[in-house]
């Protein structure tokens, strides 16, 4: 599903325009400064406080456009309530920063209802993730992999016309990834992530008027032409920073709670009951995709489309990044909005 809106253009902000407030809630002064430096580029005012009590006081005076918060504070008493209050007051979103090596806290984080944007990577990835996440929310412009790639990158687009085309499409992507000059590790991760995203889009996304997922029980190896609305679009490209993979369906039936439920499976390794033996799908698609990517993004427009974007970092060795946890975002648009 190609985006026609121009990307990578520089927004010019009139001299006296008020871009609003971004509130940083973090104890660490250095992190406050780093986040300020990154998000200052949005031309918003950036204020920082050290705890939720101070944040609540500030909320009484001025509603922030965005809140950026340390994950510990979200888990502390009053953290979730503060996010709920800020959202009710009109904040567009809360970005939660996860410190390095906090993988053990992931399972509890995924059960927090207020969690929508988790940014887990260290610098310099953090700068890119924070900027794009903040601007997507501030501009209410959420769709497309272009936002994550450098200017001018060409993306391959493939539309799935039948259910069993998936394997050939994944083979094609794997070949292209090697042709990008990337190694077998990235090719292996990309092929698994793409297969799982396509499978979800072909079998789990379609719903009827009653909201029934009418393809979910179908055998995954049976040939079937996809009806016009069931066609799924895959796009991917690489700018030597990220390999970006985008899969879009035309139903928009996936919701945030479902995503968090399956992400929790990725966080809780082990578990014999992780695999679903009773249905056609194995119930591991989102968890496996998350495990393959450095950053997983879902753009939701209920009843219209679901777009999943997986980013695999190809600049740094995993040991250089050192992060055991991947970032994720769930962005939503109103059903009727055009973009």
């Amino acid at each position: 599903m190609g985006e026609t809106a121009p990307e990578h253009t520089i927004n010019t902000i009139p001299e006296h325009a008020d871009r609003g407030l971004i509130l940083v809630v973090h104890r660490d002064r250095k992190t406050q400064r780093v986040v300020h430096r990154i998000l200052g580029s949005t031309l918003c005012t950036v204020d920082a406080v050290a705890n939720v009590v101070q944040a609540r006081k500030l909320l009484g005076k001025r509603v922030p456009e965005l809140v950026v918060m340390d994950h510990n504070m979200l888990l502390e008493e009053g953290g979730v309530a503060f996010v709920a209050e800020a959202t009710a007051a009109g904040a567009r979103g809360c970005l939660v920063l996860l410190k390095d090596n906090s993988a053990s806290e992931l399972p509890s984080l995924f059960t927090v209802d207020a969690l929508t944007n988790l940014l887990a990577n260290p610098m310099p990835l953090l700068a890119e993730e924070l900027t794009v996440t903040a601007l997507k929310l501030l501009r209410d412009d959420i769709f497309g992999i272009e936002k994550y790639l450098s200017w001018g990158i060409e993306c391959r687009e493939i539309v799935l016309n039948n259910a069993t085309q998936r394997a050939d499409v994944v083979d094609r992507l794997t070949g292209d990834v090697r042709a990008f000059g990337l190694g077998p590790r990235v090719a292996s991760l990309a092929s698994l992530a793409t297969d799982e995203l396509l499978s979800n889009a072909v079998y789990n996304a379609p719903v009827d008027d009653a909201g029934e997922h009418f393809r979910a029980a179908e055998a995954r190896d049976t040939y079937r032409d996809l009806l016009p609305r069931e066609k799924v679009t895959l796009r991917y490209g690489c700018d030597a920073r990220y390999l970006a993979i985008e899969v879009t369906d035309q139903f928009g039936s996936l919701d945030r709670h479902t995503i968090l439920h399956y992400l929790a499976k990725a966080a809780e390794r082990g578990g014999v009951d992780k695999i679903d033996f009773s249905s056609a799908g194995a119930g591991m698609g989102i968890a496996l995709t998350y495990s393959c990517c450095n950053h997983l993004i879902y753009n939701l427009q209920p009843g219209n489309r679901t777009q999943a974007i997986g980013l695999i970092d190809v600049r740094f060795k995993p040991t250089e990044l050192g992060s055991m946890v991947s970032s994720f975002n769930v962005f939503s648009r109103d059903p009727g909005d055009d973009q």
């Binding site: 077998p184 292996s188 014999v272 799908g281 119930g283 040991t319 055991m324």
Partner: protein, 166 residues
């Protein structure tokens, strides 16, 4: 000793029976078209599965793989896995039952050479490297292109997790 081959979906399986043990080589992809459980019927005492050429295994494929391991366990067969591909290791690290109580003799791991930039999947034997691996340290490997020392291209605590499983 008899050798046979069969294809299931996009996977080719070559198996050699000797006495009560079965030596199996799998090549291709394990996905929704793969049927593996029947393989357990051919096993009496034990099975060794070479997984080097399993290039892809998705969530539906890993479910079928677990069904095979369960069927083998039910028969009391000793399971050894040899030359496990990165695709298989990824699943074993995500889903404990994808390894179960099998013994992994050797496995592939991602390495990168800082000298020449070569990236490759290198085979590591578990037994001679047991001490290092138990400390979550990856053994040194020479670059096949420039002979420089290659670096492990994953986070050891994440990639070597499957070795800790019971």
């Amino acid at each position: 000793m008899t050798t046979e081959t069969l294809s299931t979906g996009r996977l080719d399986i070559q198996f050699t029976a000797e006495g009560g043990t079965l030596d199996v080589i799998m090549r291709g992809q394990i996905d929704e078209g793969t049927r593996l459980v029947g393989l357990a019927d051919k096993v009496q005492d034990g099975i060794t599965i070479d997984l080097e050429k399993v290039s892809f295994i998705n969530s539906v494929g890993v479910r079928e793989w677990i069904r095979l391991l369960r069927a083998l366990r039910k028969r009391g067969a000793a399971i050894r896995m040899r030359r496990c591909s990165e695709a298989m290791i990824h699943q074993m690290n995500m889903i404990v039952e994808a390894k179960g109580n099998a013994e992994v003799e050797s496995f592939f791991a991602p390495y990168v050479c800082d000298g020449c930039g070569y990236e490759g999947s290198m085979c590591l034997d578990v037994s001679p490297n047991a001490t290092k691996l138990s400390q979550l340290q990856a053994p040194a490997v020479d670059c096949p292109e420039c002979n420089d020392k290659m670096e492990f291209n994953e986070i050891p605590e994440r990639y070597l997790l499957f070795l800790e499983q019971v």
